[in-house]
């Protein structure tokens, strides 16, 4: 599995898609000047922009690299030469997953450091009303990282059932978009007002989707970082447990499907 992790990382760093996406990191340079345009709450704005940029880059990376890594292997017939080596299918798949996860972590460490630097500069020039709590910032970036690792898991699971990259790419994007709103929709459907408006078929569907789709709302700690608000500790713990359990289920399913897949 270690060997697969290693070549996964090599593959990403030599990939054009990765190099293209990383060009976006140049945008960090513009954050101080963009933030200073607002005249007020410059530091808060710079934190917002940095976190958004990190999230956006991680989203692109997790969707495109996660969804295309298996697909590319099958499309370019690398699977014949690799899966026929004395390595189990599950090691291969988990190697891919951990390689991608490790890569997401590395990227967010580097981008996070760049973000912190930018915020430091901004807060130095325009001192904020409330001091920046660096711990909360790190926490926000850390949970965003977990969120995108989970998304890589979704992309890999979809790759194991699909023969094209269409389903994994768009499926992952849809899962991401839906994951932000499932909580609200679920709560709405279960509220007393909705009982009269919503059809009875709708509710079980929403409930099913609510449990099936990833719920990523808990991973968003941007507000805490921006306004230096202490996050709820038990909530964080719950989110970590959710991350581990959900990812384990995703990878369990992916391993099972991939193990039975025919390499024709």
């Amino acid at each position: 599995m270690f060997a697969i992790i290693q070549i996964t990382l090599k593959g990403i760093f030599r990939d054009r898609v990765f190099q293209g996406i990383m060009v976006l990191a140049v945008l960090f340079l513009f954050i101080p000047s963009a933030a200073s345009l607002s005249m007020r709450q410059v530091t808060e704005l710079s934190i917002t922009l940095s976190l958004s940029l990190i999230s956006f880059i991680l989203l692109l990376l997790s969707v495109f690299l996660g969804a295309t890594s298996l697909w590319k292997d099958m499309e370019r017939r690398y699977t014949f030469s690799v899966v026929s080596l004395p390595i189990s299918r599950s090691s291969y798949l988990l190697g891919r997953f951990f390689g991608l996860a490790l890569f997401i972590v590395l990227t967010s460490v580097i981008l996070g450091a760049a973000g912190c630097l930018v915020i430091k500069i901004c807060s130095g020039i325009y001192p904020p009303d409330r001091p920046v709590v660096w711990g909360y910032l790190v926490l926000a970036i850390g949970f965003a990282t977990l969120k995108y690792i989970l998304l890589v898991g979704v992309a890999l699971l979809l790759s194991t059932v699909s023969t094209s990259f269409f389903l994994p790419v768009f499926g992952t994007i849809c899962a991401f978009l839906a994951s932000g709103v499932t909580q609200q929709v679920y709560e709405y459907v279960n509220s007393p007002i909705a009982l009269q408006v919503v059809s009875p078929f709708f509710k079980p569907t929403v409930t099913l989707l609510y449990y099936l789709l990833p719920n990523l709302a808990g991973f968003d700690l941007n507000v805490n970082a921006i306004y230096s608000i202490a996050p709820d500790q038990s909530g964080l713990l719950l989110t970590v447990v959710y991350f581990v359990a959900y990812t384990a289920i995703l990878m369990g399913g992916a391993t099972l499907i991939f193990g039975h897949r025919e390499m024709k």
Binding site: R76, S84, P86, H260
Partner: protein
């Protein structure tokens, strides 16, 4: 223990319009250790299907097989073979050297051994100068040679090669043939598929002919060539110094030679005239 033991293995695919394609039908085949076996068949005969089943890439619909005593599909079975896929493709962002190191790692070779074998293989297959370049820029022949390097790297006892000579120029084909002959000398078992009869005639001990998913013939190469003898072309010089060439059937040869000797003729040359492997193959497939 057989190097390869296939028992009643079959595979059907669901083709277009829910048609079922029976790509392989109840194959029984055992390969002895130290044997070079040619799996001969036209395109679409079921050769690759058989090999993919053996390597655990696809699952046989029915039947079983073992590789060096290990059931197919297991990691242990794959540990004991060197496998070359048909028209192989390798991670093109890696260089040949990186790829071999990757493969050796998966075969759990020690660092020192792996470094030595990698160098040997890269030199043997004339990839030494290109070893640091990503395989993206390799020609088809070079990729095929990487495939062979990867097969030989961990020095297994059994080799399963799917069309190892296809798409190679005469030089490349000769190289592959020499490698197989060398493996045979070292007592290794080789199972390779091909649609070219000439390859089989030169290097194999035994040949199996497959068509439409069925094994149609299974025989030693010597026996096939022996059976194929139609007669002999005999060159003699008579007492008068005349040179004569005549065609003699198998049954007449004894009498012909006796008569020639009693007539004090000098026998210059006796050459068997036979159907070659190609004729044998065409005959079986056409049946």
């Amino acid at each position: 223990m057989f190097a390869l033991d296939i028992q009643g293995m079959g595979k059907s695919f669901k083709g277009k319009k829910r048609q079922v394609v029976e790509a392989l039908q109840g194959l029984n085949l055992s390969i002895e250790q130290g044997e070079v076996f040619g799996f001969l068949g036209p395109n679409g005969a079921g050769k690759s299907t058989t090999i993919k089943c053996l390597m655990g890439l696809i699952k046989p619909t029915y039947g079983t097989a073992t590789i060096m005593g290990e059931p197919i599909g297991s990691v242990a079975s794959r540990m004991k073979v060197g496998f070359l896929p048909e028209n192989p493709a390798f991670y093109d962002y890696l260089s040949a050297e990186e790829y071999l190191l990757f493969v050796g790692g998966i075969f759990k070779m020690s660092t020192a051994l792996l470094a030595r074998r990698t160098e040997e293989m890269l030199k043997l297959l004339e990839l030494w100068d290109a070893r640091k370049r990503p395989m993206r820029g390799y020609s088809k022949g070079m990729v095929q040679r990487v495939g062979l390097a990867q097969v030989l790297l961990h020095d297994p006892d059994l080799y399963i090669l799917d069309e190892p000579m296809s798409g190679l120029d005469p030089l490349g084909r000769a190289l592959v043939k020499n490698i197989i002959i060398d493996l045979k000398k070292r007592g290794k078992s080789v199972f390779f598929s091909t649609h070219i009869t000439d390859d089989v005639e030169k290097v194999c001990d035994r040949v199996g002919v497959i068509n439409k998913g069925q094994l149609l013939a299974l025989d030693s190469v010597d026996h096939i060539l022996q059976q194929g003898i139609e007669g002999y072309v005999v060159n003699i010089t008579t007492v008068a110094g005349l040179r004569e060439e005549s065609f003699v059937t198998k049954s007449d040869l004894q009498i012909f030679i006796q008569r020639a000797i009693s007539n004090q003729c000098l026998i210059e040359k006796i050459q068997p005239r036979r159907k070659d492997m190609e004729a044998f193959f065409l005959e079986i497939v056409a049946r």
